[in-house]
Amino acid sequence: MLPERFRIHEDMIFKLSHQRSPSEVKLKSMEWAIVTQLNGEKTVAQIGEILSLNPDETRSMFTRLMEVGLLELVNVPERNPFVPDEIFDEIEYQLTYFLGPVAGIIVDDTLTELKRNRKNMEKKQLAFLVELLTLEISSVEKRYEFQKRMLNKIKGIV
């Protein structure tokens, strides 16, 4: 088990450390590729995506770079990245206004499509959830009204 300081999360952002130069360390070609992508803005997940690495490969390479002291953490991911329960009650309430009593089922079905539930939905996916739910509303005017209400609710959360 890695100590917490070496545990890599996909939304962490790193830059190259001033303490050590990459030339002092023997790096594999893909580790070099990661080093060239570090700019203090891209997240671990984004760099992995750019380099076509899977999440495990990305994590292990970042862990190694961290261990050899080449990385400096720019941001720490939020401690609680999950959406509070009550927001789903609000979403369901608003959606019921436009879709009727099936709203709760649609919310849960959409969460299942995202491989999430009301307990483990991350804040960064909330706007996407609203976008998917909006597609269930056929009237353009009602879609707008739902999005407007949802934006007001979620802008303080995400």
Binding site: N39, E41, K42, T43, L126, A127, V130, K148, I154
Partner: protein, 152 residues
């Protein structure tokens, strides 16, 4: 004009600039974070004028383009009389940007003063593409696309 209608958009973490262009690539209004160099807007705007112009000419059902770059992301949305450009960090929540644009655009378009202003704006985007601004490859690609379109 950007701030009164697109305030929610400007407040999204990672959004650095919001620019409204007319179909002649003139800036109607813009908002940026401090220390941002706005001189690049016209150049970026022109690129999207070309793309949206072609989309409009070919009657494609596409009103949004999102392009990630090495150091940021450009989100654009076209409307018949103008287009909107958002420059943001790569970490920005794109669905949230889309949501904020959807909401703001509706309020913007339904405002009486804005409607009056939009009436004065005009000109199809495609006819604003100046051949002088295209390089040889772009010219050939454009000719080929138009030929294919005419043939079909």
């Amino acid at each position: 004009m950007v701030l009164p209608f697109f305030k929610d958009l400007t407040e999204i973490a990672g959004v650095e600039a919001v620019v409204l262009f007319d179909n002649q690539n003139n800036i109607i209004d813009s908002w940026t974070i401090p220390k941002y160099n706005p001189t690049v807007f016209s150049e970026i705007g022109e690129t999207f004028l070309h793309v949206f112009g072609l989309i409009e000419y070919l009657s494609y059902d596409m009103e949004e383009i999102v392009i990630p770059f090495d150091r940021g992301l450009v989100y654009t949305r076209t409307q018949p009389e103008f287009y909107l450009l958002v420059i943001a960090r790569l970490s920005v929540d794109v669905p949230l940007v889309r949501l904020a644009v959807n909401v703001a655009m509706e309020a913007f378009r339904s405002n009486r003063k804005v409607r009056k202003m939009l009436k004065k704006l005009g000109g199809q985007k495609f006819y604003q593409i100046k051949s002088i601004t295209l390089d040889d490859v772009e010219k050939i690609m454009l000719e080929n696309i138009l030929e294919d379109n005419n043939a079909s």
